[in-house]
């Protein structure tokens, strides 16, 4: 990750901002340049809802280099409250607590660091939603 590359995408990563095609009423995250369905390239920026439901998840024990110091961690397929599907890393959750249907919410967290001299990279992860009731295990 280079500083300029990190800086270019910060808005989308910090605030979960997606690209929206008005013709198709479809949101894209990661943000796209062109609508998949109609080819519209005048996509608008829209903030995604910060809460959703965990469709399914996995537990990564073999991480890429960037996350070598932080494994193991969970990756989830999440359906946000507006129906948008996204992949995201999960945090503040142990393996035993994960289950399908878990309510989750977006939080701003550190993703990884270059090293002691380099930049700190931030982004959005999801944690079990506070203050909402969850389906029984």
């Amino acid at each position: 990750m280079t500083a300029p590359s990190y800086w270019r995408e910060r808005k989308y990563r910090y605030r979960l901002i997606a690209k929206y095609c008005r013709n198709c009423d479809k949101k894209y995250y990661p943000p796209r340049l062109v609508c998949l369905r109609c080819g519209n390239d005048k996509l608008e920026e829209v903030e995604l809802p910060r809460k959703g439901t965990l469709i399914t998840y996995t537990w990564v024990t073999q991480p890429p280099n960037e996350f070598a110091a932080y494994a193991p961690y969970a990756i989830g397929l999440i359906k946000l409250d507006d129906g948008t599907l996204i992949f995201a890393q999960l945090t503040d959750v142990d393996y035993e607590e994960l289950r399908e249907g878990l309510r989750v919410e977006a939080v701003f967290r550190k993703m990884f660091e270059e090293d002691e001299k380099g930049l700190i990279y931030y982004g959005i992860k999801f944690r079990p939603a506070y203050f909402e009731s969850n389906p029984p295990p």
Partner: protein, 349 residues
Amino acid sequence: MKPLHQVSIIGYGGYIPIRRIKAKEIARIWGKSDKALPLEEKSVAAYDEDTATMSVEAAYNALKRAKISPSLIGAVYVGTESKIYTVKPTSTVVAEALGITPNVLASDYEFACKAGTEAMQTCIGLVSSGMVKSALAIGADIARGRPGDELEYTAGAAAAAFLLAKAGEFEDIAILEGSFSYVTDTPDFWRREGQIYPMHYYRFTGEPAYFHHIREAASNLMKELNLKPSDFKYAVFHQPNSKFPQEVATSLGFKSEQYKPGLLVPLIGNSYAASSLLGFAAVLDIAKPGDRILLASFGSGAGSDAFSFVVCDGIESKRNLAPLIMDYVSKRKYVDYAIYAKHRNKYNK
């Protein structure tokens, strides 16, 4: 000190990390007795949390209560002694993450545990002068406890954020009556560049530092505003441990029902720049319109900022727009020393 135009709090919020470690567990590692420990337990920030991430969540809650567009915020100041970079402000990351950039002032404040209230004083000046419409003051810290040192029991983590504006422009939560700041060069606690853990001078941090500065700030504030302790419903002080805030409150003439509601340190530890602000937020969570609240911070080095706020009607409708401090306090997961050390990366240093 009174601003020319009245200033109020229009939004507030806090954040406490979910993990906790019991003081008994830390004592176990170092072979110390678990009697006479400075508190019950403290909060532990996860490996993927830092001052920026905690500030964002606290500020997010403050913005939810404020109900204004981020574009109306003209300044973001994070008061901390655990900046994310030594050079490059935490506030820029926080401002970006909340959509407040680019028409904004931003900087990090440092004055040990009173950095957050220093930021608050500046915000008061900025909004009162009309330079900005609203200003965000945040106190946040992930305190570093040297392994085996007595501060390791209390070095906690949390963030508290306050959004201020000219009184009457937006829905007011609490109006500022006045403030008083008392600062001297007192070397009770410091950290040199390149050092990971701070140095402290044990009992010297007590009477000549903590007690003297808070007493001076608070009593001078009350004198200036012609108020006495019984005029206040609540009194919130900086909380380095369970004993100090109770002692200073009593010595100033406050009773336990006034200072107990804001006393969070037994359960979450000393969150340094967030400490007194978090206690203040906890009190706002239960206060009624018309209640008068004293807030007195303390920062080593040393100084104290004392404020008097009066709660407004706006608190009733705004309070429940974001999680309460006690909601965060009661959400907890205990970890042992090994997991604590892993999250705080204590074995690499």
